[in-house]
Amino acid sequence: MIESILEHINYIGAMALFIIGLYTVLTHNNLLKRVIGINIMETAVFLFFVSIGYVEGARAPIVLENGETLFVNPIPSALILTGIVVAVSITAYSLSLIVKLYQHHQTLDMSEIMAAQSEDRS
């Protein structure tokens, strides 16, 4: 039991992080905390993806003269580089939206902003 947990600790950790991130996004009212939650979720998925390509005791996939053949799978790492770029752009864009919301409302609390706007509408 404990051995199988230790063997899959990456996957369990990724799942736990994903749930923590989702919980943060869905329950917190602070806009910045929501963006942080998204970032935690992204990190969880990246950790999961990179763990798939990991091989115990293997080297980085650079072919050398000395004939070693045990390499980690480079594809997940390459994909996650793209994923990180996407994550950064989403974070930057959502932070810029938060700046604008703060300028309009002088608060970062989602429920206050929603209340102010629904008052506007009616």
Partner: protein, 493 residues
Amino acid sequence: MNQYPIMMMVLMLASAALIPIVNVKFKQHLHAFIMIVMSALVLLGIFNVKHVIAFGESYINFGGYRASIGIEFYISQLSSLFVLFVIVLSWIIILYSLKDMDHHIANSKLKSYYTLVFLMLFALIGLSFTFDMFNMYVFMEILSLTSAAIISIKDKRENILASFRYLLLNTIGSLSILFGIALLYMVSGHLNMGELYRSMSTLIELYPMNLLLAIGFMFMGLAIKSAMFPMHVWLPDAHSTAPSPSSALLSGIVVKVYIFTVIKLMVYVFGVDVIRTLQIDVAISILAVVGMIMGSIFAIGQKDIKRMLAYSSVAQIGYMFLGLSLLTSAGIAAVMFHIITHGIIKSALFLSAGSIIYKTDIRDLRQFNGMGYTMPLTMAVFSVAALGLIGIPGINGFMSKVYLSLAIVDGGQPLLLGAILVSSYLNAVYYLPIIINSFLRNDPVSQPNMIAEKLPNVMIASMLVLLLAMIVTGFYPQLFMRSIESAVAFLGL
């Protein structure tokens, strides 16, 4: 080899990069440039469909890598037709936006708006053609960033909030899709859709848990992005606050491409048998029926015209998922026809609502009394489109309901017909009062003589094209249906 899809994408990317750096003195030059690019795109789309019909479906491999390690595009008949529909509809909407955007944003922002729209079209074309799971994720992220940005470009505070919520939920959706992709890659070692399909029979025996989790994550993500009923919370705000051309683009095109992605995943990746074995289709059909009815019920209570149209989209998305859940070729053909129908009708509705807002600044449905006298042309387009959504014969909405009902009867689930009937009644409950109020009730303030409204020509032209499309496809649905059916036959269901 069929190079047209690559040419389309390069054209979009290059012109999106060109727009902000070219110094234009007059706005007319910018407009001319945009329409020339869009017309070239339409031509390329037509050539692509012709090429696919003449020479058959083909694959494009980028960079000369094998399909299993490189990125592959699959140019199927269905995706070519879908891309042509996307391009033609966005041509019409962009023609409308040339004048209407002046009303929403400052002149200095026009360039960035069209850059975003072109990048969005680039992602839409890529998402329809791609045959690689990770590539699909990247296009989805480009699409969600650009589509959130065309909402927030109108610098009002409700736009920014709507755009923020849209971005947040969309990102959760993309992340759960990426999680699903990771779970599939973990057990199969493939990202290519064709390779995944070939290994599906061993996966379901050896790793049923992984497969079920992956399908669950991916469908949950796509359900958020395509606003399936309980995950639709972002849609009303996003579609109603956006500038009218953006609303039409988002509601007519962007939501549809995610439904098209669901079709691709069901047919090309998992295969219909796996979906049936895991009973995903039952879950989809239940959510679809609830969405069809609840979306309409929410729409009844709305006072803002664009919010009402947005809730009506939620109901119509239910129809599409209902057709998908049948998993038959007749069902998918009906869904494709409804995608086209709803794209035309909903754009017509949003553009005519946009014209009313452009001319009178009235968004409140209670002030629509006598609108048919002040804006006869706009309200005529609106009424025909609304009657089409209710399902009056002679307009294409009726034909798509007929095809959907026939597919449901074929699929052996006649109880679902009741849901279509109830939803149609509910549609009538919220669309008919608008038509009656605007044409039969007089506004005490305005004089009762009818004069054609003075809207900019491009806005009238694009609305009339949509009106014509609705009526022509209402009387001659075979024009579209024949090519859709022959394309769906290639799916091999």
